[in-house]
């Protein structure tokens, strides 16, 4: 890992929490007793990753940030490295502005995640999972179940789930992102959360559930 970072030459020389992050950290650390503040490792890593996204446009946790967190929480640096590398949600390498996380686990795959992957590859020019597009806008990652199988297939872009996607809708989503728009998260075919496609189909005889009421 260390080699990857040093070769890519992207590791910043230093990391300092900005005022916005500090305000979040104060709230987070207030939740834990002082001698248990190591519990703040996970939320602080998240704060660091979001600060990087805010300031550099790439949501990742550089090693220096992990060192800062370790010092802040009075734990050995390796304890923070362990946590940061264990969880998939922390990026230990820079990612593009839009982090395309495609679920390819069985339900999504059955519902056509291969199409989504192909559309992403076609639109961004990325050849393999884990790579970033040449313009630095997109990184494509294969993820395991995102817990939204009812709306499969799922494409998670940064923090938002885009559900019920297929090849065409994926491409139009990415095109919108490229134009600087922020498409509405959720089902792209207009389903209300995970309610049945095309409207209710049970309890139709119950007056209060009938359409229009």
């Amino acid at each position: 890992m260390a080699d990857v970072m040093s070769k890519s030459g992207t590791e910043p020389a230093e990391f300092v929490f900005d005022a916005e992050s500090e305000a979040l950290i104060a709230v987070i650390l207030a939740k834990y007793p002082a001698e248990r503040k190591a519990s703040g490792t996970l939320p602080l890593l998240d704060v660091a990753q979001r600060q990087m996204a805010r300031l550099t446009g790439s949501a990742w946790v550089p090693r220096v940030a992990m060192d800062v967190i370790a010092a802040r929480l009075d734990v050995a640096a390796i304890r923070v490295y362990e946590v940061a590398t264990f969880y998939f949600m922390y990026n230990t390498k820079p990612v593009g502005t839009y982090h395309l996380q495609i679920c390819t686990t069985t339900p999504c795959w059955l519902r056509g995640s291969d199409e989504v992957v192909a559309a992403c590859k076609k639109h961004t020019g990325i050849k393999h999972f884990g790579e970033t597009s040449e313009d630095g806008m997109f990184t494509m990652t294969e993820v395991e179940c995102l817990g939204a199988c009812v709306n499969a297939p799922i494409l998670q872009i940064n923090d938002d789930f885009y559900e019920d996607v297929d090849g065409a809708s994926t491409e139009s989503l990415l095109a919108a992102l490229r134009r600087g728009e922020k498409p509405k998260a959720g089902s792209v075919i207009g389903r209300q959360t995970s309610a049945p496609e095309g409207g209710p189909n049970t309890l139709l005889d119950t007056p209060s559930f009938q359409a229009g009421e």
């Binding site: 890992m1 090693r63 640096a77 390796i78 304890r79 490295y81 264990f86």
Partner: protein, 684 residues
């Protein structure tokens, strides 16, 4: 106490014992990889599965506490099948490279695969490979062999106290390492090699040198610090190849400091294997007879008070006694063992020993460290303090240059003013007073210089003031760096009535100076006309100044008695022969005494050891350390009120090169380049 039945054997064990420990008590061996009795329980290897009656499935015995009336079965078809399954999974990603693995022959995985392994693999997929990590000059890694028991992670976090190793990534990608490549900074890192159950972490300088079944093992005592670590000296055909720790619960438990383990290659370099005589300013090779006669001629006619003797840090008690007897028979009282000039008061034994004892650290509830860095001066002893600290309820105060001792300390100043404040009272003095078993640990190297005697007296006075000196508890401790020092003091190798100390013998204070392994002082200060005899095993500062060199034996090549900093008398046995013409030191002195016409009254080692007991009865008790309280509060000579405001110097700036053996060792030189030089460069 809890009663349970294991394989039909009824055992009674304390509450909270794990099933695995109970099995051991019943004499039943349970295979394990991740479980280590001195580390926390991880329970991740699953090799120690046993069947417990009424439990629905096999349980990991290392992490399963005993319960009253429990019935445990360790050798049923189900247990064997479960362990076979675990073993099969462990071997999935383990390479089949035993023939080229240094762990081969002493590998837990190899041994247990013998009992629980399948004869073939059912795993047809690709095995994973893990990149090797560079952990510095001492520990070699072959990470593909790692079975992720995390013993090393727990050792570095718990025993060594420097969390540098961890498990990064997860699942199939999980790796043990430091994440950011760095050399392990612990002085105990060699123990990682011992605790690794497979060949993932091995001894780097020893790579591909020997197989364990080729080695002869001899019990020895480590002399590279004053802890008196029990070691096993492994040799093949008279070649000392490696050194391993031996279990001694009262001294080193099962650990060994890196200098003791890795300076073994220094035993083969820069050795004195021939007698040398300086003729017309040049050293010329000589035979034994020639050299001894030459020395005898030079000594003949020199009055006793113009002859002096200095013994070094690594010398065994037998040789020191022989030299002492020889010099006394020549009428000399000019004896000294304190090469650094430390103001040690040898008039009472508890003035110069670690009286609480190393095992006694486990009982202490407050420790004050004065002018000592135990992490470097005695790494194994430091681990004991850390262990006590982890158990809770220990306050450690520290007076000295800021250092990371691997446990939290209360900094009380960097020099003598800190001690003066404590003598006048203060918060930590109250902590010591309230403590039931307080310890004061004074570094012997802090006694060097102008304030030495005053510091010794002041530390003693503080110990008396805070109630550390009681008939049932002796809390005054002197921590030595030199393995031979306490033995020399026990033998009275200090200036006799009217005799000169080392400083008195320098600058022409004597005409003949006999250096027995003494290299740790400024030999340039020896008078130009002083005839110097250097008897020792390495060509270092002493030999460079010598007029006659008598080649002696290193600690692995002679049977000798050493007294550690506690005052524990331990015997080390010869594992090899001295190189070339070199001989055991006491034999050289005995032979010389005959040539000089004053034969020493012992012809063999048992006779000399009997003389040792006669010289000081403490030498009669091998291995055991009687612990005494303190009922006589009279302090050592020195004015406790005469302390200046000086700061303590770093007691050991370079841990890796402190004596002739470690200075001759290429491994220790590499460690110095890795750990010491970059730091001192950065500090400038």
């Amino acid at each position: 106490m809890t009663k349970l039945t294991i394989d039909g054997i009824e055992v009674e064990v304390p509450n909270g014992t794990s099933v695995l420990q109970a099995c051991e008590q019943a004499g039943i061996e349970v295979p394990r990889f991740c479980y280590h009795e001195r580390l926390s329980v991880a329970g991740n290897c699953r090799m120690c599965l046993v069947e417990v009656e009424k439990a629905p499935k096999p349980v990991a015995s290392c992490a399963f506490p005993v319960a009253e009336g429990m019935v445990v079965k360790t050798d049923t078809p189900a247990v064997r099948a479960a362990r076979r399954g675990v073993m099969e999974f462990l071997l999935i990603n383990h390479p089949l490279d035993c023939p080229i693995c240094d762990q081969g022959g002493e590998c837990d995985l190899q041994d247990q695969a013998f009992s629980y392994g399948r004869d073939g693999s059912r795993f047809a997929e690709a095995k994973r490979a893990v990149k090797d990590k560079n952990l510095g000059p001492l520990v070699k890694t072959v990470m593909t062999r790692c079975i992720q028991c995390t013993r090393c992670v727990r050792f570095s976090a718990e025993i060594a106290g420097l969390s540098e190793l961890g498990a990064t990534e997860r699942g199939e990608s999980m790796e043990i390492g430091t994440y950011v490549e760095k050399a392990l900074s612990s002085e105990l890192s060699g123990n990682l090699v011992d605790i690794c159950p497979v060949g993932a972490l091995t001894n780097k300088p020893y790579a591909f040198v020997a197989r364990p079944w080729e080695l002869d093992r001899v019990d020895g005592i480590d002399v590279l610090d004053a802890t008196g670590t029990n070691i096993s000296i492994c040799s093949r055909g008279g070649d000392v190849l490696r050194i391993l720790p031996r279990v001694n619960e009262d001294v080193n438990e099962e650990w060994l400091a890196d200098k003791g383990r890795y300076s073994v290659d220094g035993l083969k370099r820069r050795r004195l294997d021939h007698a040398w005589i300086k003729r017309e300013g040049k050293l010329v090779k000589a035979g034994w007879q020639e050299a001894l006669v030459h020395v005898a001629e030079k000594i003949e006619g020199v009055p006793g008070d113009r002859i002096g003797g200095v013994v070094g840090d690594l010398v065994d008690a037998e040789s020191m006694l022989a030299l002492r007897d020889l010099l006394v028979s020549l009428g000399s009282g000019n004896l000294d063992c304190r090469q650094d000039g430390a103001a040690i008061d040898a008039s009472r034994r508890d003035f110069y020993t670690f009286n609480t004892s190393i095992a006694g650290i486990d009982e202490a509830d407050a420790i004050l460290l004065i002018g000592t860095n135990p992490r470097r001066e005695a790494p194994v002893l430091n681990a004991r303090i850390r262990k006590r600290q982890l158990a809770g309820g220990l306050a450690v105060g520290y007076i000295g240059e800021a250092a990371n001792l691997t446990y939290p300390v209360r900094a009380l100043g960097t020099g003598l003013p800190g001690l003066k404040q404590l003598l006048a009272g203060g918060a930590f003095a109250e902590v010591l007073k309230k403590a039931k078993k307080p310890m004061i640990v004074l570094g012997a190297s802090a006694l060097v210089g102008f304030d030495g005697a005053a510091l010794l007296a002041a530390a003693w006075k503080l110990a008396a003031d805070v109630g550390a000196l009681r008939p049932d508890w002796h809390g005054f401790n002197l921590l030595h760096q030199a393995a031979g020092r306490v033995g020399a003091l026990d033998l009275g190798f200090v200036p006799q009535a009217g005799g000169k100390d080392l400083v008195g013998m320098l600058d022409g204070g004597v005409d003949v100076l006999w250096l027995l392994g003494a290299d740790e002082f400024d030999t340039a200060r020896i008078g130009a006309n002083t005839f110097v005899i250097y008897q020792g095993h390495h060509g270092d500062a002493g030999a460079a100044r010598a007029d006659v060199i008598l080649p002696g034996a290193a600690y692995t090549e002679k049977t000798g008695t050493y007294v550690n900093t506690e005052g524990r008398v331990q015997r080390s046995y010869a594992a090899a022969r001295p190189p070339g013409e070199a001989r055991e030191d006491w034999k050289i002195l005995r032979a010389f005494s005959a040539v000089a016409g004053k034969p020493l009254p012992y012809d063999d080692l048992p006779a000399l050891q009997a003389r040792l007991e006669q010289a000081n009865p403490v030498f009669a008790h091998l291995g055991v350390l009687p612990r005494f309280g303190c009922s006589d509060l009279t302090g050592p000579a020195g004015d406790a009120n005469a302390l200046s405001d000086a700061a303590f110097a770093d007691p050991m700036p370079n841990y890796y090169q402190t004596d002739v053996i470690s200075r001759a060792s290429p491994t220790m030189a590499e460690c110095t380049a890795t750990y010491v030089t970059p730091i001192s460069v950065a500090a400038e």
